[in-house]
């Protein structure tokens, strides 16, 4: 086996008691000494800091860079920003997928417009090479410069309602940087990405601050030169102390995103047709939802009507989960096999009262009892032959004797903060 890679923070993680495990090509923290539950809850109520520098960054630049991305990526960059679906402009970013010609998923990504003719594509750990290769494959007509910056960029996610208050303490000009900063917008740059409008910290470091994340909660993804990374991580940790910020591992990242109904690439979307799932907003539908506004790799395959598997969110009734393996499957209440489990995690911030799901962030106006203390609920995604309406119950089984009943849901964790206006969070 090839030796696993380590991020620049590896020693910091170990010194802070991280339980380290292999994740793809990297050795990453699962949780630190306080445990994943405390980390999960910190992100709901205060803030958490995630080392995400295992994720890959690919830059695309040139006169026809936009056309190249338009042809390879699912989102229509000319119709994607805000409710009015305006064009992607400098300072904005969008979520979408890179499909294969047969409509299966190569990876999901966020595309940032960083310059008039420059873009940054952020993809999953280990996918920088495959995405750069994909872009190069179709580059003959576009002649763009494609650069895989894998392992050359430091990336950390500051997530939680206190994230802006923490970042504010470190920024040289916080009012200017944070003012009106919308969800899925960014400012600044770092080595390799020249910023139209630089963002600097009090200590002089340049970075890119992006109002995005993978927890369903308010926060930022920060891209930074690798040489500045460990120092700035420590500065953010120190700034976050008064808000109860904790370093968070992959376990909390997984449980937070599952409760927020966000997919894990190659687990919830992957080598099957992209369709009938909660993430169809990644496709460039026309206003009447009947067609696409552009042609791109995989568009014909996903537009074709045919048999498609249904990917549906679920939530259980207690924290028990099924650890997904080749033996696990989903049955209807009569025991008939109807599909497979894609993700099963426990969102520790939620629980049920008379069947209704509340979060630690729920308030009495939501109907949540004042004394509510959640015990956690299993949640995730199942993939079924047939569509099932929210509220339908199915059974997850380990293929042996363990069975847990779960409910198909439209959504899981209530009162998420990701889209809250910046002015409420300062």
């Amino acid at each position: 086996m090839e030796e696993l890679k380590r991020t620049a923070l590896y020693s910091w993680h170990v010194e802070h008691g991280a339980n380290i495990a292999p994740f793809g090509e990297y050795e990453m923290p699962l949780w630190y000494t306080g445990g994943a539950k405390a980390e999960h809850l910190a992100v709901i109520s205060g803030a958490g800091l995630f080392d995400t520098s295992h994720m890959a960054v690919v830059t695309v630049a040139g006169a026809k860079a936009r056309e190249l991305i338009q042809y390879c990526f699912s989102k229509d960059l000319d119709h994607c920003v805000g409710l009015k679906k305006g064009p992607l402009v400098i300072g904005r970013c969008v979520y979408g997928v890179f499909l294969n010609p047969d409509g299966t998923v190569l990876d999901d990504a966020i595309v940032y417009q960083v310059a008039e003719k420059g873009y940054m594509v952020v993809v999953n750990a280990g996918m920088g090479g495959a995405i750069a290769e994909r872009l190069e494959k179709y580059n003959t007509d576009y002649n763009a410069d494609v650069d895989d910056l894998t392992d050359q960029v430091g990336k950390m996610d500051v997530q939680g309602p206190a994230a802006a208050k923490i970042v504010k303490k470190l920024l040289a000009d916080p009012e200017k940087v944070l003012a009106n900063m919308a969800y899925f917008s960014f400012k600044g740059g770092f080595a390799g990405i020249d910023a139209a409008e630089p963002v600097t910290l009090v200590d002089g470091t340049s970075l890119m601050l992006s109002r995005t994340g993978y927890t369903g909660e308010f926060g930022f993804e920060i891209f930074i030169d690798k040489d500045d990374f460990v120092r700035v991580w420590q500065e953010v940790m120190a700034a976050g102390e008064e808000f109860g910020a904790l370093p968070c591992g992959l376990a909390a990242r997984d449980s937070l995103r599952a409760g927020a109904v966000l997919p894990l690439s190659h687990q919830d979307i992957g080598n099957w047709l992209f369709g009938a799932n909660p993430w169809l907003f990644a496709l460039p539908f026309t206003d009447d939802q009947k067609g696409f506004t552009k042609k791109f790799v995989g568009s014909e395959a996903v537009a074709a009507t045919g048999k498609v598997l249904h990917t549906l969110p679920f939530a259980g009734y207690d924290p028990r989960k099924i650890v997904v393996s080749d033996e696990t499957f989903v049955t209807d209440m009569e025991g008939k096999n109807i599909g497979r489990i894609l993700t099963c995690a426990t969102d520790m911030a939620i629980g049920r009262v008379d069947g209704v799901i509340y979060s630690v962030a729920s308030i009495t106006e939501d109907g949540c009892p004042a004394a509510f203390v959640p015990k956690g609920l299993s949640c995730g995604f199942v993939q079924l032959e047939e569509d099932l309406a929210p509220g339908t119950e199915v059974i997850l089984t380990d293929g042996r004797k363990k069975k847990i009943t779960v409910e198909i849901r439209a959504d899981v964790r209530p009162r998420r903060t990701a889209r809250r206006p910046m002015k409420e969070m300062l």
């Binding site: 008691g17 991280a18 339980n19 380290i20 699962l30 949780w31 445990g35 994943a36 539950k37 405390a38 376990a251 909390a252 449980s255 207690d318 924290p319 028990r320 989960k321 099924i322 650890v323 426990t346 520790m348 015990k375 956690g376 380990d398 363990k402």
Partner: protein, 131 residues
């Protein structure tokens, strides 16, 4: 994650290869999981108990612990009948993380007390962990 020399392995209990412990309390035996097990599992979020009155053979699965990381089966260190379960863990499973020895999981009436003597003492258990 704890280093092996940071583990709390009391000498007044016996250990199994599956990281349970057993302790004689009068005519019954209390069963729990070791500090190593709770540290490896991470936050325990749910305990699946057997019924009081159930009987199990030595090494048989009698329940499970759900942690954020995994589901871990519990195996009975010695044959016997379940005479009590630790109800506190139903509401607060995290107590196992706080102190895995105070917070026992089940209490059994042993079928054959000599099985207890076959279990590892703290020193032997540490030897096993050190591999």
């Amino acid at each position: 994650m704890k280093e092996l020399n940071e583990l709390n392995l009391p000498a007044n209990v016996r250990y199994t290869e599956d990281h349970e412990w057993a302790k004689i309390v009068g005519s019954t035996v209390r069963i729990g999981v070791s500090d190593y097990a709770q540290d490896q599992l991470g936050d325990i979020v749910f305990v699946e108990f057997p019924e009081v009155g159930d009987s199990f053979e030595q090494g048989e699965e009698f329940g499970s612990l759900e942690s954020v990381k995994a589901v871990s089966e519990l195996y009975l260190p010695l044959s016997g009948e379940i005479v009590a379960i630790n109800e506190d863990l139903a509401d607060s499973p995290e107590l196992i993380n706080e102190d895995p020895y105070v917070n026992w999981i089940v209490e059994i009436k042993p079928a054959d007390k000599s099985e207890f003597e076959e279990l590892m003492n703290a020193e032997q258990y540490m030897d096993m962990l050190e591999g």
